[in-house]
């Protein structure tokens, strides 16, 4: 991990050096799995898949999911020697049974759930995935598709001994059309690598999230990831043009068109986007990339109160208009945590709230003028008490790091209870204040941050260790509070294992009924990512 005692941009000197970027120069070339260790995903990230298991630090063992959560193993078959031989025939040399490598793949990034799978498969092609799923279907073996393993709801790792189907080696860019900006690639491409690839050609990926160094595009699509650019470029439901999916019985569904408009029949890809690996395994994605903005500005501002944050947001929309590309907020406790655990310097005077405003446009002068106008207005009217503007790219990245690395800082603070809710903006922070009052000294920290522009609050509570008492105080309080505001109990993180039973707070019973029917239709044996996403059928 890079020490943050050195001047803040020397880390970026390394990052900018050519040897670090493993970008492909032609379609069909492999987009490598290298990851910049500024996000220390070493513990459960694919770095360990390379056989570098010794780099994982000794950390306390995670309790197996079956012990922590009330879940019973369904009567799937157990992997046998014949099964391993069959897999070896399909993907020679890529059937992993080594306990150390499996240890990493069995635990999620948050280190809150642990499965006991004995087999990890790494196919390279859609055909291999199809053969594997056909075999599993015949043998009634459960399968857990796994991308970058950066999910927040325990959906990416097995609950029991489900076979882990990793997309790590499905990392080829299939094609990129540099006039339309349409990228077609395999599901195992790492988001940050794809971003570099299209950036070289004058485009950017339509989504961006803190986990970009490790997450796979297939996983992003399967979870309908939101992220930091959502405000400007919208949801994956709009930017994904086509998918190639392998269904539970091994059938390959090729809907991988690259057409902006195609109204021929029901839009099947929408079923799989956000299905969290329970309706099919996504093997390739066709996605529309926006042009790379010529001018990007980042401003980091301190606000004296939440009312001012909301007013600043309205002012932003009014004065910055079409160039606004991100509006994130964080509270003082978040800033304190990133300072304490990651030694990131606070760039402005201490304030109760901080907002990060990003503009992206095609003209530097035009954007600078608009941003100056907004800043003068905000400062003049007292909405903002202090702030700074990233005057060069490395400063802009440092400012983003303050927001992007909050998750990381929280994980250093102890056990984290994570909630991700959509609420009407006016009541946003009330949930955080209410919880602070309700929990008192039982919680170490209660923080709120997130995509204010999208109405998405990330509420996190840290404690020295997991405790059922604290969990009891939090749930179902957070969910009922959210439901009372007609909000969503999972704005962008999805349901996975940990929230599968609470979707009822945001969806009516008829909706859940229809979801069960769709699941039964596409995966009658329930082999794909079992125990997750939907509550157990009544």
């Amino acid at each position: 991990m890079v020490s943050h005692q050195v001047p803040r941009w020397s880390a970026w000197i390394f990052r900018a050096s050519p040897g670090w970027q493993r970008t492909a120069c032609a379609p069909g070339a492999s987009v490598g799995q290298q990851r910049w260790p500024r996000i220390p995903w070493q513990v459960s990230g694919p770095l360990a898949f390379r056989g570098c298991a010794s780099t994982a630090p000794r950390v306390p063992r995670v309790m197996p999911t079956s012990e922590r959560y009330p879940v019973q193993r369904l009567p799937f078959s157990v992997v046998s020697e014949e099964d391993l031989a069959a897999f070896e025939r399909i993907i020679p040399g890529r059937v992993i049974t080594d306990p150390e490598e499996l240890e990493v793949a069995n635990v999620d990034w948050l280190r809150t759930v642990r499965g006991c799978s004995k087999v990890l498969l790494r196919p390279r092609t859609t055909e291999e995935v199809s053969h594997i799923l056909r075999h599993c279907h015949q043998r009634n073996l459960a399968v857990n598709p796994q991308g970058g393993n950066t999910g927040m709801v325990g959906g990416s790792v097995p609950v029991f001994d489900e076979i882990i189907l990793s997309t790590a080696l499905m990392n080829q860019v299939i094609s990129f059309h540099d006039v339309s900006g349409i990228l077609v690639c395999q599901a195992g491409c790492v988001l940050e690598e794809l971003n570099h690839y299209v950036q070289e050609r004058g485009f950017i990926m339509p989504l961006d999230l803190g986990a970009k160094g490790s997450c796979h595009i297939g996983g992003n699509v399967a979870t309908n990831a939101g992220g930091l650019r959502f405000l400007r470029y919208g949801s994956l439901r709009g930017t994904v043009l086509g998918l190639e999916v392998v269904l539970a019985d091994g059938t390959v569904l090729d809907c991988l068109t690259s057409l902006r408009k195609d109204n021929t029949g029901y839009d099947l890809k929408q079923l799989f986007i956000g299905s969290e690996g329970t309706l099919g395994v996504i093997t390739a994605v066709s996605i529309s990339c926006p042009p790379r903005p010529k001018a990007v500005n980042v401003a980091f501002l301190g606000c004296p109160g939440f009312a001012e944050v909301l007013q600043a947001f309205s002012t932003c929309k009014g004065t910055l208009g079409e160039i606004l590309s991100a509006f994130e907020f964080m509270d003082a406790e978040c800033m304190q945590l990133v300072g304490q655990h990651l030694h990131l310097a606070r760039p402005v005077r201490e304030s109760p709230f901080y907002i990060l405003v990003e503009t992206s446009g095609s003209s530097a002068e035009h954007d600078a003028e608009k941003l100056d106008g907004f800043l003068e207005q905000a400062l003049g009217s007292g909405l903002v008490t202090d702030g700074t503007v990233g005057t060069d790219q490395s400063k802009a990245q440092s400012l983003w790091a303050l927001r992007e690395r909050i998750t990381e800082a929280l994980s250093h603070d102890g056990y984290v209870f994570k909630y991700d809710v959509s609420l009407p903006v006016e009541r946003f922070y009330d949930l955080v204040s209410d919880l602070r009052a309700r929990l008192g000294p039982r919680a170490k920290h209660v923080v709120g941050y997130g995509h204010l522009g999208d109405g998405n609050l990330h509420l996190n509570v840290t404690a020295e260790a997991f405790s059922t008492a604290l969990l009891g105080a939090l749930e179902p309080y957070v969910y009922t509070w959210t439901a009372a505001q007609r909000g969503s109990v999972s704005a962008e993180h999805g349901l996975g294992l940990r929230k599968k039973d609470v979707l009822g707070y945001s969806k009516p019973p008829t909706a859940v009924q229809l979801m069960w029917q769709l699941k039964a239709l596409l995966d009658p044996r329930g082999l794909l990512n079992p125990y997750k996403t939907l509550p157990a059928h009544a």
């Binding site: 501002l301 760039p347 400062l379 005057t391 060069d392 490395s394």
Partner: protein, 255 residues
Amino acid sequence: MAELRALVAVKRVIDFAVKIRVKPDKTGVVTDGVKHSMNPFCEIAVEEAVRLKEKKLVKEVIAVSCGPVQCQETIRTALAMGADRGIHVEVPAAEADRVGPLQVARVLAKLAEREKVDLVLLGKQAIDDDCNQTGQMTAGLLDWPQGTFASQVTLEGAKLKVEREIDGGLETLRLKLPAVVTTDLRLNEPRYATLPNIMKAKKKKIEVIKASDLGVDLSSKLTVVSVEDPPQRTAGVKVETTEDLVAKLKEVGRI
């Protein structure tokens, strides 16, 4: 103390996070539409000057930059960090390529005399040409002592104690003022320019002059012959066993 005045030279360069592209005609690198910012070492120099001012050891910090009109943005950044006023020595864009360390040194020397400064601070080198010459040439032209690659600067009466980073370790010099100092990475961590200062900087004065006003000749005896990419790194070859390694080495004629 506090009667000292400092001149800080800042250079506008291509932002160091940007990937550099060589122009197809090999006359230089692509600068159109590319993000530019203050040279990181110059930022450290500005930060040091501002810190000296905050310690009440320096009375006034003047930021200066030579180049086309866009340099004024860079001077504004220095003003936002705490410099008091700026001087822009305007050079038309067409001639800007030929302005190198010697020309800038001549300008700085004349300015240092005109403004009667006691300290000239610069970054040790610019990240676009990596010359590492301007500070030294300025000191030579002024016949002033110099402390280059400074990692620590302390004022001791009428002398400046400069700790320098050199190959063998650290060297400490005592310079009589007036002096020239060039800054190295570990001298300080430049501050973020705060919003109130950014707003105030808009009102600070930037004087625009030409090199000829100072009586400086910007002609250069150097011409750039060509600018080319370094040779492409060829992919390495991975082998499974030592026998394979030996066979491969024999194949490429290495053994």
